[in-house]
């Protein structure tokens, strides 16, 4: 039995706005420290690191502040699998912001990736293998013709 949830409206449509003055949890500071450390690791050991932004408490507006700090860089790309995902490199090379949306446009995951290129953007081994098979198939069909 599958459960379907029927709703034409998401919360985004209702325009819920959280109005609260600026206060800080101090997590902004710790994230910046983590990013700094990860960049060093990336340079020295080529080790990528992902920070799940949804795993920590934020005060209202704090997350936006972080994004404002990081800014936007040269690369922005969109993935279309099980809903959209947006990858963009921040104004700091090697620091990417990744946001996953569901098919309904609801954010289901958000993270900062400290890496040369987010893993998910690479073509996937299994699917490359599959492509080869499909190309061969086309070739075979062409030959028969």
């Amino acid at each position: 039995m599958n459960i379907e949830t029927f709703s034409s409206q998401t919360l985004a449509d209702i325009k819920v706005q959280v109005e609260s003055p600026e206060y800080e949890t101090g997590n902004l500071h710790s994230i910046l420290t983590e990013i700094k450390f990860s960049l060093q690791q990336l340079l020295e050991q080529k080790k990528s690191h992902t920070i799940d932004l949804r795993a920590m408490p934020w005060s209202p507006g704090e997350e936006r502040k972080l994004e404002k700090y990081l800014g936007k860089g040269e690369v922005r790309t969109e993935l279309d699998a099980l809903g959209k995902s947006i990858f963009y490199e921040t104004s700091y090379s090697g620091i990417w912001v990744v946001t996953h949306y569901s098919e309904d446009g609801v954010i289901i995951g958000k993270s900062i990736e400290v890496t040369y290129m987010p893993e998910m953007l690479f073509s996937q081994y299994e699917e490359v293998k599959d492509s080869l098979e499909r190309i061969k198939e086309i070739e075979r069909i062409e030959e028969i013709k």
């Binding site: 039995m1 949830t5 919360l11 959280v18 003055p21 800080e24 949890t25 408490p57 005060s59 996937q124």
Partner: protein, 367 residues
């Protein structure tokens, strides 16, 4: 019916490898695991099978099911739900009566020893007649269904601790699942209602790893209930600075100061609201300006006023103090008069000491 792995199912639905990885990313975040675990989760899910789930509703208000099912349009929660086989849920299933009960028995038979039982609501022991399903008492149905289960997930404060029905004077003799089921693992997912992502996170854990997550002393998954609301609260710095809202609309409240004085139960409440938040991560009670009620803790309903600070005594201490003053005065007066008597007795028995009394005669001093 459940022989397919989750990965195969997703593939059939035309989900790409990237889509699968995205799903795993969301799932890893949902289970509150570090992002480095994504590949482990992906590996586990490639071979994971859809578990059969039987959902039993006893003395409850359906709020927990609502929390989960009406949370919002299909998201990870929805995806998880698609990937378990929910074989019995009497509020949701189309079948009714005999057919519904048949579905439950069927699922039990087919997946004996492997299915999950989700319970919302408490079980009345005072009189089975307080709550029955298809003529069966809640207790009988629980025992019957759990017999072949791999694990039981008690969703909501009622099934986890007895909840609202258990509140004094507990007319139905309501008890929790864990007080009845001793031979199977019971995972408590309390909350009134629990955060939907927490419910699905626990399901996801079982789905992914085929095991139950690490639990705390109250049987709650540590990943979600490991820290108190207070420890993760963004208003905590105000507590530490001694800045408190005194009323719900004063300057402090507007500035977002700590709600301790307004009765916030954050310090004693273990839950993930501060991080996971509610309604698509929009807000949570404290962010909306109201203190935590402590709904994921046992007997939160009987824990005194929601609007009294945690450090304040709960009983009728003014009366106790009144009695104490009355009896203290009586006893004190008695003691005082006794002392006076002793004093006057001492005075009347007092004999003057003269130089003669200090004679060095050994015989005298030794007598």
């Amino acid at each position: 019916m459940n022989k397919q792995t989750l990965f195969e199912l997703l593939q059939q639905q035309g989900v790409s490898r990237r889509g699968f990885l995205k799903y795993c990313t969301a799932l890893t975040s949902l289970m509150a695991l570090p992002a480095s675990m994504i590949s482990t989760v992906a590996q586990a899910l490639e071979s994971a099978r859809r578990p059969s789930v039987i959902w039993l509703s006893f003395q409850e208000c359906t709020g927990c099911a609502e929390s989960l099912l009406r949370s919002h349009s299909p998201t990870v929660e929805g995806l998880i739900f698609d990937h378990i086989s929910l074989d019995y849920q009497h509020t949701l299933q189309a079948a009714a009566g005999e057919a519904a009960e048949h579905a439950r028995e069927q699922a039990m038979k087919e997946n004996y020893g492997n299915y999950l039982v989700v319970v919302d609501g408490s079980i009345p022991l005072a009189d089975p007649g307080y709550s029955t399903i298809a003529g069966m008492s809640n207790l009988d149905m629980l025992n019957d269904t759990v017999a072949g289960a791999a694990a039981v997930i008690a969703v909501g404060t009622c099934s986890a601790y007895g909840g609202l029905p258990h509140a004094a004077p507990n007319p139905t003799g309501a008890v929790s699942v864990s007080s009845l089921i001793k031979d199977k693992p019971v995972i408590n997912v309390p909350g009134c209602p629990p955060i939907p992502t927490v419910i699905t996170g626990v399901l996801a854990h079982y789905l992914t790893f085929g095991s139950i997550p690490e639990l705390d002393r109250l049987g709650r998954p540590k990943v979600f209930y490991g820290q108190s609301i207070h420890d993760r609260c963004y208003r905590r710095p105000f507590y530490d600075k001694g800045l408190f809202a005194e009323t719900f609309d004063d300057e402090g409240a507007k500035k977002g100061w700590c709600l301790y004085r307004l009765g916030c139960k954050g310090p004693m409440t273990y839950n993930a609201c501060a991080t996971l938040k509610w309604n698509q991560q929009t807000s949570w009670p404290v962010e909306s300006g109201h203190g935590c009620l402590g709904c994921s803790e046992p007997d939160f309903w009987d824990a005194g006023s929601f609007y009294k600070a945690l450090s304040i005594p709960d009983g009728d201490y003014a009366r106790a103090a009144g009695y104490a003053v009355a009896s203290g005065v009586v006893l004190g007066a008695a003691a005082g008069f006794a002392n006076q008597k002793t004093k006057s007795a001492a005075v009347s028995q007092h004999t003057k000491v003269s130089v003669d009394d200090f004679s060095l005669n050994q015989k005298d001093t030794n007598k």
